[in-house]
Amino acid sequence: MTTWKERLKDEIPLEMAKLIDTYEAQMSLRQQGKMDEKVFAEARLRKGVYGQRYDNGQRHDGVRTQALAYPSEDIVKGPDTLWDAPGMQRIKIPYGGLSARQLDVLSELADEYADGILHITTRQDIQLHYVHIDDTPDLMRRLAAVGITTQEACGNSVRNITACSLAGVCHDEAFDVSPYADAMTQFLLAHDDVQDFGRKFKVAFSGCAGQACGLVKMHDLGLLAQSREVAGELQRGFTVFVGGGLGTVPHQAKALADFVTPEQLLPLTQAIARVFARLGEKKNRNRARLKFLVAKLGIDEFRSLVEAELAALPHDPRHTAYLDNVRDFVYEPAKAGLQLNGAPLPEGFDEWYRSNVYRQVQAGYSVVTLHTPLGDFTAQQGFQLADIARKYVGDNIRLTVEQNIVLRWVADADLPALCRDLRKIGLGDAHAGSIVDITTCPGTDTCKLGIASSRGLTAELRTRLIERINLLPDAVRELKIKVSGCFNSCGQHHVADIGFFGNSRRSGNHKLPHFQVVLGGQWQQNAGNYGLAVGAVPAKTVPAVLAALTERYVAERAEDQNFQSWVKQLGRKEIKAMLKPFMQLPTFEDNPAFFSDWGDSRVYTIEDIGVGECAGEVVSLFSMEISKAESTHFEALLALDDGDFRRADERAYRAMVLAARALVRTKYLDVGDDNDRIVNEFRERFYDTELVYDRFAKGKFARYLFKRHAGQPSLLDEDYAHQIIDETQLFIENIHSAEQRINGVIVA
């Protein structure tokens, strides 16, 4: 029977194929208990393979906690995370850009491996839920065949790089940031300098200062496009912000540099990554984001360190090679841009046009926003949307940080027909970007850290608001609501006019789901201001709280006064007083409905909260690197079993080189990936110094590497393959022992 690996072998770029093969080998090693569970967890996370709620084998059913006896209950894919428990696959979509073909494949995967739903995240990723880990290598291969990777979608590395969904077609932008986001994605993907972070690292690009789309001020690294005139010519560049982030303790990013040219962009980013890797917190995950390092050092000291790192950075031709691609970066509309031509309009078109259509800077073209409720759409809608894209816009599809989809380069004359076609597939609703278009994280539906049902609340608010949308004043319609299931801010509640995040309170012997109300955040100005928490209310009162807030806002606001200004004017004390009546807790006997969450009939409990994987596992760089050597050694074993002795030899040799590299990198990060250089550095630093010497065998194991590095034997038979695989195993063990023995010396 053929496999996806065989079927797609000519369609997957070699480097991507290798990364997936390595991951698959790591899966086998973990199943056999030959790979540490924490190291595997981090390796898995860096492939976007994430845990889900109840994957520890327990679930409260509303009456009692039931054990979930999965078939392979003794095998784990991470600490307290059972192998067979369904998980989430996060898929990176750099700056949200998708082709029609990619959308087709994503949809195929959703109905074959997941639950038929594609979920758009606030980082322009796609997530598939309820995926079995055994399916993930094939899923990755099918994505890789159409140019999509899951590499570093989770874990302590560079997450999906985001950018304004209007980039390239926007009236306000300095220039199109898309090719720069693309270049940075390619440059940082699996880069050596982003493998040793204590936490994740988020990057965003924005084309202008005033709008929200890029949200650069809430990112670890934010790049804001600027242009300036130099000798009569307009020069492109970026203002660089660092140390922003939401989470429990939100930080506004600080300006690191006012103007960085495209030539300096990638080296500067690399230098920042190196400083973060070297000085960022590794043990306490709660203080390990870049924002804490910047706050601890101060922006001036951080800048000095980055400048010093930049000065010492080895030359890399990739730093500027991408600039040719920037010049060649063009969009291919499916049709010529034509104005609306008086064709009959579908009913409700004007309303849809007002809320969902943005006129591009290019005459005759528009961007159309498709509002996906809760960020979800079905595989069937995915196929249908891909067809619609082919018909109207070609490959000009993007995902947005508000969990929507945009079709760009729509000829204006096609808008009525497009509106009709989108309605046929359930994606033609008006009110995109309005108060009904609520952003939400997965919350207790699937997240291990969820405290309250953010999706349940969002669905309820959305249903109620849609019923009344035509009665709402414009000032209310335009408000942004964002909901998180806990304080970790995945729903970005800090940057909404009205934000909510889940928590809980006790009444008698029972707990009630609650939401903390966060008011006055600013979405515009690239997430220019964070809202303030003003009090927690029971989840079931949130619709009433929202009504009270918006009604009072409409009644009391001055003409043209926005919500943030009104909140500020009202003051925290008065707002708290307004919320107080909603904060009263009933007893369970008086009102049992308060003790269940939205969309969940179970009596509420917080017993299902687990350990999140957002932070990844704190695993040393050496552990991650040596695990690659071990999985490559495993591939050699598989090749031996297949009778492919040439490949067995090649994989064994590669495994030895990777093991040597793992040790060398503990002392010399920039060793690169050239075999000669790695072996020379290893010999000089560890063999000649006898640091790698075994107590009894002395330098014997290291000489296995030197022997094979000197040349491939003429006869590649089974005996030889056996021998080199055994030698590789001994060499890897030797490296492990050496690292343990000398680690203190090296680090010091």
């Binding site: 079927r7 109840y54 009456v63 759409f377 969309g599 009939s601």
Partner: protein
């Protein structure tokens, strides 16, 4: 012998629109988990009723999911077998039928007279694009094998029709019987 697809789904449509709404299914499925009403390792309930023509409300289990499915604008019970399918196609179909029937009958018992399934039509999907790409040749071979297996299981000949010819869609068939298949073997108790 026809290879068994990696995953297999069966959907039974409702005979008529019920009073009961998709939101009412959430507490039913939650209770099924508490009381282990249907076979399998029942894990959680997901609510996708906000998505038009989608999977509706899904009771996720380890071996197979049970969905109050709203796909193609037609409400019904969809049983999606994900794991531990037997190597033999007839045995795999029997297993899926038992699972689908168990859940359909349990749902009918939740709202007698309101929830009524049409047991003369079964939609069968092959969730395996590697072995069963949705092309004409594969579909013809699969249809012949499926017809034989279904006749063996139900003791009656079913009319089969391929649902889509778009190669991106799952290979799927509408299988129509001349009589109700509800009392056909195997019994729900044999679902696992």
């Amino acid at each position: 012998m026809q290879t068994v697809p990696k995953r297999l789904a069966m959907k039974l449509n409702l005979a008529r629109a019920p009073q009961l709404q998709p939101a009412d299914i959430v507490p039913i499925f939650q209770r099924w988990i508490q009381q282990r009403t249907v076979p399998g390792l029942l894990i959680d309930v997901i609510d996708y009723k906000h998505v038009p023509d989608g999977p509706g409300v899904v009771l996720v289990a380890d071996e197979a999911d049970y969905a109050w499915d709203l796909g193609a604008g037609q409400a019904g019970l969809r049983y999606i077998r994900k794991r531990a399918l037997p190597d033999d196609l007839s045995a795999a179909l029997r297993l899926c039928w038992a699972g689908a029937l168990a859940a359909a009958q349990a749902l009918e018992a939740e709202a007698p007279g309101d929830i009524v399934f049409d047991y003369q039509l079964v939609e069968i999907s092959y969730l395996d694009r590697l072995q069963y790409p949705n092309d004409r040749q594969v579909a013809a071979t699969a249809l012949a094998a499926l017809a034989t297996s279904l006749q063996e299981i139900f003791g009656t000949k079913l009319q089969l029709q391929r649902l889509h010819d778009d190669p991106r869609y799952l290979l799927a068939f509408h299988c129509v019987a001349g009589r109700s298949l509800a009392d056909s073997l195997p019994s729900p108790a044999r679902a696992d």
